[in-house]
Amino acid sequence: MSDLLRVDDVHKSYGDEEVLKGISFEMDRGDVDVLVGPSGSGKSTMLRCINRLTEIDSGEIYLDGENVTTPDTDVNALRRNVGMVFQDFNLFAHLTARKNVTLGLRKVKGLDKAEAREIADAQLERVGLLAQAESYPAELSGGQKQRVGIARALAMDPKLLLFDEPTSALDPELVGEVVEVMADLASEGMTMLVVSHEMGFVRSAATDMFVLDDGKIVERGAPTDLFENPEHERTKSFLQGLNSAHGGDG
């Protein structure tokens, strides 16, 4: 089994509302797949099921060949391997940028102060923020906060990174710096599953694009194929909406 991630017939309901209606897909190592779909279609829910911030009702999810949805899966170990980047950053408000990155290294991986700091500084440098290592979240711009969020996730050395609309809380002029970091990661071979309507990123970095609608993946393919000849009417109208909203290239 060579897939890094395999999602198999996942169902999830909130009360009477079934949000995920049998989702299946797989990702190879190094894939950068982008999940798009209208609001409420279940994109965030899907991501959160993968690192088990949300529990699925049925189906299976395999990471690196291992079923991670069994009752005796160690969720903390799973989450060390699956990083997550949030729409509204969720940086630890009381800690500096550097300490945001070192906290997990110290408390989860048990590294000593010097080792943690070395890794943190390397990751902050990777996202271009080493100079801001001593700044608190409130002293950073949105784009800088999100880059710290990415550094925090990267520092744990995950096999897979999940991004939930990482640029949609940002002022338009700050989107570029975050997209640039993400594109760099993609080209370095990081496996990424991204919820984003940032068409610039999709076109330049995405391996595949999944179109989610009403709890199902209605179409999957390389971005250029989907843009040029979408099979489904739903995909067509959705992508047209995005293109006009984002001026064609985000």
Binding site: N51, N76, M84, A93, A138
Partner: protein, 229 residues
């Protein structure tokens, strides 16, 4: 109106002649404030955490204890502990327990509110790097909640400081009791107002100084503003 005749120079001379005695009472007052606040913190902080994160009987027990303590006059609590339950023959110990438990009931509410004010996303972010729920609470939520508790804590501190005077009811020789000792002495009832003014001044200086101190603490430990406030 205060009749000018009561503010007499010889009454003030009497007060100052006994300043040492009153300062001794001040030491007891300050000591009682510290032990009560400390007990209130040691019991109140876990109680607040149990109210937010606990469940079952423990949580309902803590909630009920809080409601009872907040609903009973402090004077009644203290007299119960001293004259009825007689938990100790030391008035200082009894006063500490009474004021401390009552303060715990209020401090628990300060911490409960502070813990609940920390955004859920902070816990999710902590869990997403692999921290356990306990670690997320301990390393991410609690440090932020403690900092947000300082203003409420400041308020509680002044209340406890002033309420130490209630220990007069169980005969503890604190500041107010000693003041009363002075003006109840034969021939010194004319000094009543002077004594009360003097000890009020001491209470005022104490609250003022501790408030300033806690303001400083707030400045030093405040989370740089703007995020999640």
């Amino acid at each position: 109106m205060i009749p000018s005749v009561v503010l007499q120079a010889n009454d003030w001379a009497f007060v100052f002649a006994n300043a040492d005695y009153l300062l001794g009472g001040t030491v007891v007052t300050v000591g009682l404030t510290i032990t009560s606040i400390l007990l209130g913190f040691l019991a109140g902080f876990p109680a607040g955490a149990i109210e937010v994160y606990g469940d079952g009987y423990l949580q309902s027990a803590v909630r009920t204890a809080g409601v009872v303590l907040r609903g009973t006059p402090i004077l009644v609590i203290m007299m119960l502990l001293f004259f009825v339950v007689s938990i100790s023959s030391s008035a200082f110990v009894v006063a500490t327990v009474g004021l401390g438990l009552r303060s715990a009931a209020y401090q628990s509410q300060i911490f409960r509110g502070a813990l609940q004010s920390v955004d859920e996303g902070q816990i999710e972010a902590a869990r997403s790097v692999g921290m356990s729920h306990r670690q997320a609470i301990g390393y991410v939520v609690v440090p932020q909640a403690l900092r947000r508790s300082v203003p409420g804590f400041q308020n509680e501190f002044t209340i406890v400081l002033k309420d130490t005077s209630i220990a007069i009811a169980i005969g503890l020789s604190e500041l107010l009791t000693r003041g009363q000792d002075l003006f109840l002495q034969g021939g010194h009832s004319t000094a009543t107002l002077e004594v009360i003014l003097f000890i009020s001044g001491i209470y005022f200086v104490l609250t003022f100084v501790t408030n300033r101190g806690l303001d400083r603490l707030d400045d030093i430990y405040a989370i740089p503003s703007g995020e999640n406030q």
